[in-house]
Symmetry: C2
Subunit: 630 residues, 2 copies
Amino acid sequence: MAIITVDVLIIGAGPAGLALANWFRNSGIRVLLVDKKTGPTPRGHAEGLKSTTNEIFAAFGIEPQIEAESWRLEEIAIWGESKDGSGGIVRQHVIEDKVDELGVARETILQQSRVEHHLLQNLLSHTNIAIRYHTAPVSVDIDTSCPHLSEEYPVTVHLANVKDDKPEANGTSTSNGSNGTNGHHHVEERVQAKYVVGCDGAHSWLRKQLGVAFEGNSTDCLFGVVDLIPKTDFPDIRRVGYLRRATGTVLIIPRSNKEVRFYIPIAEKIGDNYGTREEVTLERILATARAALSPYTLEAGTVSWWSAYCVTQRVGSRFSRRRERAFLVGDAVHTHSPKAGQGLNTSVQDAYNLGWKLRLVLQGRISDPEALLRTYESERRPVAQDLIDFDRGYLKLFTGPSSQFETEFLWAMKFSTGLSIRYARSCAVQLSRGVEDVRPSLLKADLVPGKRLQNFQAVYQTDRVVDRIQRRMRATGAFRVIVFAGDIAEPEPLAKAQRWGEFLADRDSGLGRVTMPSDGDDATAWQDVPVEILMVHCANRHQVELLDLHEIYRPWSSDQGYDYWRVLADVESVIEGHGRVYERLDIDKHRGCCVVIRPDGYIGAVIDLDDLQGLRGYFEGVGLIGAIPN
Amino acid sequence: MAIITVDVLIIGAGPAGLALANWFRNSGIRVLLVDKKTGPTPRGHAEGLKSTTNEIFAAFGIEPQIEAESWRLEEIAIWGESKDGSGGIVRQHVIEDKVDELGVARETILQQSRVEHHLLQNLLSHTNIAIRYHTAPVSVDIDTSCPHLSEEYPVTVHLANVKDDKPEANGTSTSNGSNGTNGHHHVEERVQAKYVVGCDGAHSWLRKQLGVAFEGNSTDCLFGVVDLIPKTDFPDIRRVGYLRRATGTVLIIPRSNKEVRFYIPIAEKIGDNYGTREEVTLERILATARAALSPYTLEAGTVSWWSAYCVTQRVGSRFSRRRERAFLVGDAVHTHSPKAGQGLNTSVQDAYNLGWKLRLVLQGRISDPEALLRTYESERRPVAQDLIDFDRGYLKLFTGPSSQFETEFLWAMKFSTGLSIRYARSCAVQLSRGVEDVRPSLLKADLVPGKRLQNFQAVYQTDRVVDRIQRRMRATGAFRVIVFAGDIAEPEPLAKAQRWGEFLADRDSGLGRVTMPSDGDDATAWQDVPVEILMVHCANRHQVELLDLHEIYRPWSSDQGYDYWRVLADVESVIEGHGRVYERLDIDKHRGCCVVIRPDGYIGAVIDLDDLQGLRGYFEGVGLIGAIPN
């Protein structure tokens, strides 16, 4: 039997598994993805990309191709039953699909197959990452006695070749089988790994092996979903549409290629009068849609995909097991209605939370690996729980009375963008000394530890080229210290920024050991630095000369000269308007502040510019090796 | 000897040839491109893409990939010699690189190799278009007695295989050889074609065969050009930089991957003290650049390409010959200084002007092919002449006195975007009856026949998704009639728009024969319609229902239902602001107007909404078959 040794074994190569694997690009970390499927998802399934997910794709460098293929959603139309007794429907609201705090599109539409394609393409040139389809795990064994910093491979997984898995058909499909094999298999390989991650879907094999309970229940709601080119006189077919009928709400989502997706409630009681999920046919789904749209007509042009499903609302009791050697990600630990478009998004975001922690630990950069790895569960499980609660309320919103509808709908729009997510205090999320807690506004992108940094726009000091901060912060595994230096055309803020520069670059009493290369000064050495320093000032750009600033803000490499893209200005761009960073984030232009951004774009700490030691405290707390001078 | 029969033979597969070939996508027209080179340009050469060129790429559908790879230019810095006698340089101006009329970036940077790559990729799935490298023409013979509408192939070209062409080296290169073979060759194939187009560069073989004079001269200016990663303390290295030295002006253009391009004047007199072009070395170019930048330092990191060249300023005496059976495009008929970045842009724009005319003629849609094909020369030769005049002035701008410098520079910025281009009156550019001429402002994107339609932004009535008009008008060969219907929430403009709709759709007395499919009503039949109708209104979008408008504005196909993307609204978008189309184009909101846009995005005619027959007159004039009821 062949033996394969890898650092990370990922079970399941859907969006979560592929996103996780993307974290290990440009590293020496060996990763194996296995999936029993024959290849990427061919069609259908998830399609709504929230802004945070698009930020993650930007950090992976695949934003342009994703954006080029995505369809934009701009307006939402709410329709209800007309009160004239005709049985018809009337337009009740048209709502702008916009959340001001984001500054970008709240949601775009791209089918899962294309998302998987681009995530996969992005891995192809990285020989440390391998993908094997037709492959499923059959046993897992984990030795929890190994310390994380050792060179041992305590996870043993046996893999089998799955030859008889058929390509997915329309209608009923993958949701029947678990990702493990069903008893009959031929064990072919043994994998020795340091970590194993289950991205293997709602019927997760790994979750069952780890004895993790999947708490919650199946609802009685049976839904049909269909992607088709509609031939209809319904006037809002190219808006996101909620058709609130007494029999349930039909959801319409426009997509590219003239197609529209319909989510259609088929029945509330399964197995009663309505039959089971397996008995649902395309014809029945279309008939139900047609009845809901009446008196408007609906005929189907090309149907590219359809399916039927029951909503289950469950959260895994644990997201990690065996002293943080095994992790569960995505549908493997949370399932809910697809209506708010949270499945793929939350899965990718789970993976994005976990990946950098594994990367840093495997690179030997973290002094207390278990503490950092524990934050995966402590950060992501509450997100999943909140999501289930939201999902229950969201389903109700479409059956209850409508007096507060618009307000509640707007709240839901904001919630579903992730604006309410705030990770709890931990080694990776720290409050300043003396501060017990801060109360962030629930749905605002404010500068609070544990929240995601707003994806603000600014221009580079050097050339006025526009960038967005989350795109700037590529998924390299580096922390960023952003110095909001204020108006550095004034002497005092400038002096403070320079003092910070000295502290940041000082190897003996400051942070120089983690902000500068330890060996050599070429561009490659700079790429490996664990903490990257950025500055965002709000001075008149023409009164600032980049090369007058401390060298840590524009470091020199022996082969490529200065790095010109560390200092941004909060000023008007040439074409794209003004980012208004200081105003949006409520930063005082004279006092400024310093923010630590984790490798995943979340705020680790917010520090006063007078508190030099506070910054060092963060990196000591998270256990970044090198932060503490010997 | 093998015989190949094609409709169009294109000699030269650089940007001009590839752009021309892109016009024949999704058609049955057979095209052969031949090039003596071994493959696409590997590096160096042109790199500045003007906004019009980017619009063309959008019309070809390759804008996303071009944009993703392009570098933006936002600021221009002018430096001059300091007057303190130190021999140093001082910053004189920083200018925003922006032309308000464009609404988009004036210029972006992408190296020619990537432009060729994307143009080439876009052809790959089209089996009617073939490309052969290592292949050069050795003889051409054209029978001018054939009528254009016949089925004959009057162009005979013999091709030879070129085996010994070496890959291009740095320094001196392609500019020595012509695109034909140099005497020793083995004739392998005979091509019979309807048309032959020479896109074969400054030393064009076809130009010589056709006996076209290349009028103008070589200047005495010897330049070096180099792409490198600079190691320098010059503070404006990431701005477009003009360093005006007594010895000439050094031009600096930032590009991606930390690289910068330098254009460096080496000498004014060739063969005198300074040696010839062939004697220029990289070291000498760098030494000259270093002297110009002094007292700032300059060391070269990686050098990815360099070359030396003499500026020649020439225009071909003819752009087409042999009764419009042979055409010359791009560098084959105009050469000038690369400083204003006009070479690749003008070449691609030449090809864009010619391609649709050949396409429509070959599809048998034009009653007087020669008249339409003659407009290629009558439209593009004046552009080339103006460009040479501009080039002479532009070179002077950097040696003359500087009191008017900023004004003249802004003028040059506008000119170089093509805002001054206005094609003369012809069958394809028509003035309304009774109008002798209109005087457009020289450098404004106004609504005047012969000028390019401003690439305005608007949103779709149906879904509020943002688009730009030039991107909307894909390179399909269709003319567009844009009905600027005004405020159609008001009864009178609405009634007028509906009356236009009836006229546009009427097969007997109106334009229905060219605006609607002649056979079948599925989506494919609609794609072949020679005139597409669009509407841009400025009403409150919520007071307009798309389906209330005349069917020509939202036509039905039997397989895909309504076409929802023909009606645009001049209103605020959800995220990208307001396009202000009516204001920018100075269109009266109550009167409106109707504009004919040629397949290449230029304005063919501007017609009053009361002048139904004026619109028919345009299509009769251009000879569009089907426009005139029998």
